[in-house]
Amino acid sequence: MKVEDSFTVAAAPDTVWAFLTDPARLLPCVPGCDAIETIDPTHYRAAVRIALGPIKTRFNVEVEIVAQEKPHRIVSKTRGEEGGKASLLAADNLLRLVPTDGGTEVHYSSEAALTGRLGKFGFGMLKKQAEKLGREFAERVRAALETEPAGAGQA
């Protein structure tokens, strides 16, 4: 299942990069996420609440930064599981920042696979839900960056 989209932020790529690589500032933008734990600069751990229609569950996920090229692209892997491994999530993600007039275009794509009990739930709906979460994330990132005083993130 591939999810991809892009959004534009009125901030320079460096600013966006700094924001997206700072767990503390990123945290409030991730829907359903209460904490991000930094294991080391390329490994993070988080718990995410997910609601899929009648299903309400939590995934424990680990994100590994596989490659990065500041401030252009981040390649990462997400691996997660529900409690008791009823479902497993695996995603390969690519984030690209492209400078535009007065801002940055953020492209993201993720090739994700969900196996186990939730993998049996309507495939189309999962993708919609993932897209929706992506849009919420984008909305929050933009809101955060565009309302922040200029340069706040560069400290």
């Binding site: 491994k85 695996a90 696979a113």
Partner: protein, 778 residues
């Protein structure tokens, strides 16, 4: 129906199933209905990855769950390898996982819920590998290997194998370049068919029990107790006498239960726990982990002269074999053998490659590769007819293989009712007057035909017929009745051979201890090959009866005959006869011992005539005899949505001799319905190797409302000298022509030529009306 029943005539009569009453009253026992004292229940942990190395297991938490008796991983299994053509499959994933859902660990516990809960607590450490998700990826330069050990695997034939290619087969006759040069028109196309799920309504399962000597008795949903025995013993490195394989009633097979599913897992659990262990797959597990019909990509071109004479055909196919070899090399070879179709085409070249991928294995499924190539071939015949403005039945008649053929590669046909099939189908369907009625408003109506041939035969069979003290008979063949009715048909052949009423024949349940070898209920073979063994074994019994009766009646054995109702008497002297029970008693207590007839038989006429054909990589030397069929369908395509409905169907089938006409119709009806699903709705969808639609909510098979009630079968009888009473097989052929007939009817209705299955409303509408033409909606 033939209601005036002569109890002494069994062949040609639509006798009821021997086991009918138990099925009508809910008493028939299938694998899930069996249980043994102290039985444990098993559950599987499946792989979440399509391709990964297994680095280690942690089973502590699972073992600590109260009620859990064993937790086994790949480390706890012997490292044997099983497979019908290539020994490439371990009993459980070892070292590597090769498809999502592949069992990596199993648990036995007091109940199913506990076993499932414990299975989820098993930790497996993986190193993910790049998966091969399509055959094209598998063929690419530098592709990761699904089986690094392929060159070292034992194979039962001299396969051409390299990289991810498990088998490459090439068959040719004549000179295709020359043939195409002679053609006035050439049709060419690329065809695609999906993975289809068998959906036997009974999911797979098995129950194993071990005795104090360490011998295991195994009941399982299967199509061959002998293939079960071979697969379990090979994969678990178990001496064959250590395993006895039995069968309960089977709730449909269609190929899904031919090779192994969970049998090695439950046997190993029984060995380790020393207790009976049962495992019944859920519908989703069955769909995700057992096997599917091979997806094919077929490039085909066919050349014809202006007068409709076919001159050349060339086929190139790629088969998605999935993660293990299973029956795949056979499917490849057989599909190519069938790719010429039942036509005389002088110049033919067929080439195919079978590629490993990191997906659920493909295997045997009713039709065995033939429905896929027939979809392409019979679509092209239709296109040629359209291009030449010829009637499609006429075109087929003009090119039909007649008389003794030969078939592609040179085998001569001893029976051939193909032309009669086409003609009787044409008459039944009122084909020439088909446009006389008007279609339903809002629907585009079309008519399509397709033809098919299919073999019945292959490999070893035997039969033992034993005369009981009272003159009745017990028949033991080892052939598993998977629901298609073979027990009844074999009993009919036996009864008729001995001139005794059908109710005097009992059929022994297959048992690897006591039954003669039977390769399996597959390849439309049981009536033809096992039936032949039954007839020969019964003849042996008749011979012994006559020898003994000759002494008792003081005459020559040659002067004796079997008489209706269970008698043996002197020819021409009606009053001189003995009931069989007297002969049997004499045998049991006085002389020679009980009368037992035993016969084995295998079809052994060669498939290839080396003077005609050039062949490489073909996995069989002799295959069987040919049944024929012709099908016409009437479809209605919804002009608004593109949804296709088949409203009527007429099919003719040459079965040599219908031992049980109603069972013949049952096979043809059922094959048609399964073919209809393949044509219109059924497709296992993979997403990065994961089966997206394993449930019956998402994977849709036809319901009573989707299959036409108006479905007529005409039985053609062109007796096969090798067959019992002239009979040939009918188990698969009904499915074979359906996709092409429907595609041809859609083309007739709408002008749209569909080359990809299933022919969903979306695909039909897209071909019917290119998207840009849309706004003038209905």
């Amino acid at each position: 129906m033939d209601d005036a029943i002569d109890p002494n005539r069994s062949v040609g009569r639509s006798a009821n199933r021997l086991e009918l009453r138990e099925k009508l009253t809910g008493q028939a026992k299938y694998i899930a209905d069996l249980s043994r004292p102290n039985m444990l229940h098993a559950a599987i942990l499946g792989s979440p990855h399509a391709h990964a190395r297994i680095l280690g297991y942690d089973t502590k938490a699972a073992k600590a769950v109260p009620g859990v008796h064993a937790v086994l991983t790949g480390d706890d299994f012997p490292d044997g390898r099983m497979g019908a053509f290539v020994k490439d499959e371990p009993p459980i994933a070892q070292g590597k996982v090769r498809f999502i859902g592949e069992p990596v660990a199993v648990v036995a516990a007091d109940d199913e819920a506990t076993a499932r809960r414990a299975a989820q607590l098993i930790e497996v450490e993986y190193e993910e590998l790049v998966p091969v998700l399509t055959p094209e990826q598998g063929l690419a330069e530098g592709a990761p290997l699904v089986h690094e050990d392929l060159p070292n695997y034992f194979m039962v034939f001299d396969a051409i194998r390299y990289g991810n290619v498990l088998s490459e087969t090439t068959l040719s006759e004549g000179d295709v370049a020359k043939g195409f040069a002679e053609a006035d028109i050439v049709v060419e196309g690329e065809y695609e068919t999906p993975a289809q799920a068998h959906v036997a309504i009974e999911p797979c399962g098995a129950l194993a029990e071990i005795d104090e000597q360490g011998r295991v008795t195994l009941w399982s949903a299967n199509q061959s107790v002998f293939r079960v025995q071979a697969n379990v013993c090979e994969s678990l490195k178990l001496p064959m006498p250590k395993l006895r394989s039995l069968t309960p009633r089977i709730g449909g097979g269609f190929g899904n239960k031919m090779e192994a599913h969970v049998q090695p897992l439950v046997v190993q659990l029984a060995i380790v726990t020393r207790r009976p262990v049962k495992l019944i797959l859920s519908r989703e597990e069955d769909t995700e982990t057992v096997r599917v019909r091979h997806p094919f990509r077929i490039r085909m071109r066919t050349g014809a002269r202006k007068d409709g004479t076919l001159v050349a055909r060339e086929i190139d196919t790629i088969l998605d074999g999935g993660a293990y070899g299973d029956d795949s090399p056979g499917v490849l070879g057989y599909s190519l053998l069938m790719s010429r179709g039942p036509y005389n085409i002088p110049h033919v070249k067929a080439h195919g490659r079978l590629v490993y991928t990191n997906k659920l294995r493909s295997g045997a499924f009713r039709g065995f590769g033939n429905p896929q190539v027939s979809f392409a071939g019979e679509s092209q015949i239709d296109e040629i007819a359209r291009r030449l403005d010829m009637d499609p039945i006429e075109l087929r008649l003009r090119n039909a293989v007649r008389g003794e053929g030969p078939w592609f590669l040179g085998q001569k046909l001893a029976s051939n009712g193909f032309v009669e099939c086409l003609e009787t189908m044409r008459a039944a369907a009122h084909w020439d007057e088909r446009r006389n009625s008007s279609p339903t408003p809002g629907k585009k109506r079309g008519f399509g035909v397709a033809a098919a041939a299919h073999i019945s035969g292959l490999l070893g069979t035997g039969a033992i017929v034993r005369l009981l003290e009272d003159g009745s008979v017990v028949l033991n063949t080892g052939a598993v009745d998977i629901g298609q009715g073979s027990d009844t048909i074999l009993a009919q052949i036996c009864a008729e051979s001995l001139k005794i009423p059908l109710d005097r024949v009992a059929v022994a349940s297959p048992d690897t201890d006591g039954s003669p070898y039977n390769w399996g209920t597959t390849a439309s073979r049981v009536t033809f090959t096992t039936g032949r063994s039954v007839a020969l074994a019964a003849a042996e019994v008749a011979k012994q009866i006559k020898e003994l009766a000759a002494d008792m009646l003081e005459c020559a054995a040659d002067d004796l005959e079997l008489r209706d109702g269970g008698f043996v008497g002197i020819k021409g002297v009606p009053e001189k006869q003995l009931p069989l029970f007297l002969v049997s008693i004499q045998a049991h207590w006085r002389r020679g011992g009980p009368i037992v007839g035993h016969h084995t038989w295998v079809f052994d006429r060669p498939t290839v005539d080396p003077k005609r054909a050039v062949v490489s990589g073909l996995p069989f030397r002799q295959i069987g005899v040919y049944s024929f069929a012709a099908l016409a369908v009437e479809v209605e395509v919804d002009a608004v949505t593109g949804k296709t409905e088949v409203v009527k169907a007429w099919q003719s089938v040459d079965v040599g001799r219908a031992i049980n006409p109603r069972s013949v119709e049952g096979q043809m009806d059922g094959g048609f319905a399964q073919g209809l699903g393949f044509a219109l709705t059924e497709e296992i969808v993979f997403d990065n190797g994961r089966v997206v639609n394993p449930t019956l909510m998402d994977y849709k098979v036809p319901t009573a409302k989707d299959v036409p009630f108006h479905m007529q079968t005409i039985i053609v009888e062109s007796p096969e000298p090798d067959g019992p009473f002239g009979a040939k097989g009918v188990g698969e052929i009904g499915l074979v022509p359906v996709p092409a007939a429907v595609a041809n009817a859609i083309a007739d209705a709408t002008g749209a030529r569909l080359r990809k299955l299933p022919m969903t409303p979306e695909r039909v509408l897209t071909e019917m009306l290119p998207p840009e033409t849309d706004d003038d909606a209905a």
